[in-house]
């Protein structure tokens, strides 16, 4: 592969407590559309931030146009011809098109901006992108999202771009606009520009992509796959499947259907996201929600928890109806949530382990509002010992723990509350291989103690292995429900994808 424009080999990037990239390989040729696939948290964003100079890799090499290079700043990356268009468009809404395109490298002579010349250049760029109808003097905030994206691309092209990175460009576009975007991309590749295209939508990749690299858990699990002869099912398996077999704890012999239902969700809906969700979980039962990213799985359990305010339907726990949009009401009724984004939604990273654990049960340790800290530490130490949180020491900051151990801290919080219902959103994301089995064991033992558990996961075999019953969610609707043992991975894949990709 001598004609590679960009070659990244064994890229490693560590953040405190977590390895975001654990050896990623990527090669991109001039004039191709290279698709980057992976679940949320697989490391796509980190990788493009390394590529565009925002992050410095801790290990690995980057070869640009045949010579080893390092992009120490975003400006350096742009200088080499790498420009990135991020998901959240980074335009200044109150400036006009021309000012946005040349933001940071204004056209000027002797300190005076040459507005006329700049406008002419922008007009030429927009023509190259096939959008002559956008006026260079329009205020960007007044443009449609699709046209704003065109302005971003014009800005990218105003630099001497040789590699254009598009991070989920189609997320804000309708079908016609996507077609137009693809026309623009084809025009660019015909001129020899390489494009890295990130998207969750597999059918788009079929249309526009030349080759594919798949990331999972910060590693490359497939690279340089030709789009034309890689079946969709294989791609999904690469994205969601595991390379290692995990041992899931055995399910209890007795059926739980006869026990009292603990959590009952009726006709729950959140406008524009999901509708008509019914869900019953009995004591001691684990129910899994399977589905693609964006299907509404996380939103469903966040709404059950009250983190989002439902627009229809009811949630009852032990026969008691919860107040809509009230987390406090859910917590008081005995519901706990281990959120998807552990660091930003679940933990106080700079605070001690024990404080994170007792956060939801402070009333238990307080008398007239005064906290019994010795008792807090003692109880927290018991829990961390029984969950084998390493390194031990309940006064260390949570930040210093690995992903798996941080997850155990979140679980310990709800163990301490003796919760009735536990909602787990991607419980093993960012958790290393060794700690996964421990978390599975832990979840099962909680169920055995009579907790009703709901697990959301992008990893189909995790849902199938852990849950007793599985609900498949597609585009905001529950499309299937059955015992986990009646399903296999292929069947779930079918259900998840049905109607989206021809078989």
């Amino acid at each position: 592969m001598t004609d590679a424009l960009l070659q990244m080999n064994g890229i490693v990037k560590d953040f405190p407590g977590v390895r975001a990239l654990g050896g990623v390989d990527l090669d991109v040729r001039a004039g191709e559309v290279h698709c980057l696939l992976g679940q949320n948290g697989a490391g796509k964003s980190t990788l493009i931030k390394v590529l565009s100079g925002f992050h410095q890799p801790d290990d690995g090499t980057l070869v640009w146009d045949g010579a080893e290079a390092s992009f120490s700043t975003p400006a350096k990356a742009i200088e080499h011809g790498v420009t990135t268009i991020y998901q959240e468009l980074d335009l200044v809404p109150d400036l006009d098109v021309t000012e946005n395109v040349f933001l940071g490298h204004e056209v000027s002579r002797g300190g005076f901006s040459q507005r006329g010349r700049a406008r002419e250049m922008v007009r030429a760029l927009l023509k190259r992108l096939g959008h002559e109808e956008i006026s260079p003097t329009r205020i960007v905030g007044d443009l449609s999202p699709a046209n704003q994206q065109i302005v971003s691309m014009a800005r990218a092209l105003s630099h001497d771009t040789r590699l254009l990175v598009l991070d989920e460009p189609s997320a804000v576009l309708d079908q016609q606009e996507v077609d137009n975007l693809f026309r623009v991309i084809r025009g660019l590749t015909a001129e020899g520009v390489a494009v890295i295209y990130i998207s969750h939508r597999l059918e788009e990749i079929r249309q526009i992509g030349d080759r594919i690299t798949v990331l999972k858990d910060g590693r490359t699990v497939g690279t340089g796959l030709a789009v034309a002869d890689t079946p969709t099912v294989d791609l999904i398996k690469l994205m969601t499947g595991r390379s290692i077999e995990y041992v899931f704890p055995p399910r209890p012999e007795t059926a739980r259907e006869h026990d009292e239902p603990v959590l009952e969700v009726r006709d729950l809906g959140l406008a524009g996201v999901f509708t008509g969700v019914d869900l019953t979980v009995h004591a001691g039962e684990i129910v899994g929600l399977a589905g693609l990213v964006g299907a509404g799985r996380s939103e469903i359990i966040e709404t059950v928890y009250g983190g989002r305010r439902a627009t229809s339907g009811t949630v009852t726990v032990d026969g008691k109806r919860l107040r809509r949009g009230s987390v406090t009401s859910a917590v008081h009724a005995g519901v706990g949530l281990a959120p998807e984004e552990r660091k930003s939604q679940g933990l106080l990273l700079d605070e001690a382990v024990y404080r994170n654990i007792t956060m939801s049960s402070m009333a238990r340790f307080s008398r007239f509002g005064f906290l019994d800290r010795a008792e807090e530490r003692r109880r927290a130490a018991e829990l961390t010992a029984s969950l084998d949180v390493r390194p031990d020491g309940v006064t260390r900051a949570v930040r210093t723990l690995s992903g798996g151990n941080q997850q155990k801290v979140v679980l310990a919080r709800w163990l301490l509350r003796d919760c009735r219902v536990l909602l787990l959103d991607e419980p093993t994301r960012g958790v290393d291989v060794g700690a996964r089995s421990e978390i599975y064991q832990l979840v099962r033992s909680l169920a055995d103690r009579g907790v009703a558990v709901v697990v959301v996961s992008s990893e189909i075999d995790e849902v199938l292995g852990l849950a007793d019953r599985v609900l498949v969610v597609r585009e905001g609707e529950v499309v299937h429900e059955s015992a986990a043992t009646d399903l296999d991975e292929a069947r779930v894949l079918d259900l998840v994808m049905e109607g989206k990709v021809p078989a």
Binding site: V331, L337, L348, M359, A363, S366
Partner: protein, 342 residues
């Protein structure tokens, strides 16, 4: 590689590590407070050298402490709001409004008819009321704290001017000024109040559910919410708390000057925020100490005193204050970024 070169390398490593150890100590709150104590001692040394006995007298020390007391009480309240992820720009205006409201003819008449505690009650209620308005509109009206308290800054002082008709209201209530201006074991009552508020503040922050919730809300609002902590209610409490502190400060100011006035508490918001920031509380919330704030207040008040004793202008003092704030924040950011890289 020869053994010698290994030894040389190791020695080099150790010397480069040394300053980091100091920084590591500064990162802990105890270490930071130690740094503040050292700064305060250095300042005192400058005072002794430049002003001699005029600085190092009991009378002067008590003067410093008395001046520190009023702004100190406000700063304790401010510490809670900032740790909780907010800011209160209206403290000075609330002090003014409380001082005016508790010295109106009506209030004083009622106080004379019954007891001077009526004035205390009015001042605290006005402070709490303003804080409640701030807190409710920030929590449930979703107004950014900066804007909400900026609006309160304007309105509260405006209301104070309307009530007082821009006149200074003289206190003529028996027992009121006597109580706040008397001494207990040689130390002025005002200083005792500051000590009491600080101790209560420390206990509240470090030993109670209230304090733990404050840290959680300021440290990671979303995590606190999803852990079931009533974030909005807690936020309201924090602004009421700082309002009550303003009421206490207003009483102290009224007693010291024996007047209530719409000009009282001018720029208190700046002094309080400065003291809190110098004290090591993160403006982004989630971390801070009461001891740090107390030291911050003492540093600024002592600085003020040293300047006055040396007949230097207020302007020079303000200039230096600004420099100190910037230096402290720069240091804080350096430590914070090192922390997250570690």
């Amino acid at each position: 590689m020869s053994q010698d070169s290994v030894r040389v390398e190791r020695a080099a490593l150790e010397t480069t590590r040394e300053p980091n150890k100091g920084l590591a100590l500064l990162r802990t709150s105890m270490g930071r407070n130690l740094g503040l104590v050292i700064a305060l001692l250095l300042l005192c040394l400058v005072g002794v050298i430049t002003a001699g006995d005029r600085f190092a007298s009991t009378a002067n020390t008590l003067t410093i402490l008395k001046l520190a007391a009023t702004i100190g009480v406000v700063s304790i309240g401010m510490t809670f709001v900032i740790i909780g992820g907010g800011i209160d720009l209206s403290v000075g205006a609330i002090v003014a409004l409380s001082s005016v409201w508790c010295t109106t003819v009506a209030t004083q008449t009622m106080a004379n008819d019954t007891h001077w505690l009526v004035m205390v009650f009015v001042a605290l209620a006005v402070g709490a009321g303003c804080g409640l308005v701030n807190g409710l509109l920030i929590s449930y009206g979703r107004i950014v704290p900066f804007i909400m308290t900026l609006a309160m800054l304007a309105s509260a002082r405006g209301l104070a001017q309307i009530i007082s008709d821009r006149k200074t209201q003289i206190v003529d209530v028996e027992g009121f000024a006597d109580f706040f201006n008397r001494e207990i074991v040689g130390i002025p009552m005002q200083v005792w109040i500051f000590v009491l508020v600080s101790v209560v503040g420390w206990i509240l922050l470090n030993r109670t559910t209230f304090g733990r919730r404050t840290v959680a809300v300021g440290g990671n609002t979303e995590a606190a919410r999803l852990a079931g902590i009533p974030v909005k209610r807690q936020t309201v409490y924090l602004y009421v708390l700082v309002g009550v502190c303003c009421g206490i400060a207003a009483l102290m100011l009224v007693a010291r000057t024996t007047t209530g006035s719409a000009t009282h508490g001018n720029l208190y918001e700046l002094d309080a925020i400065a003291a809190v920031v110098i004290g090591g509380t993160l403006l982004s919330g989630g971390r801070g100490t009461i001891v740090g704030t107390v030291l911050g207040v003492l540093i600024f008040t002592t600085l003020n005193n040293v300047f006055i004793l040396n007949n230097r202008s207020i302007s020079e003092q303000e200039l230096l204050k600004g420099v100190i704030i910037v230096a402290a924040v720069l240091l804080q950011q350096r430590l914070a970024s090192r922390n997250s890289n570690a």
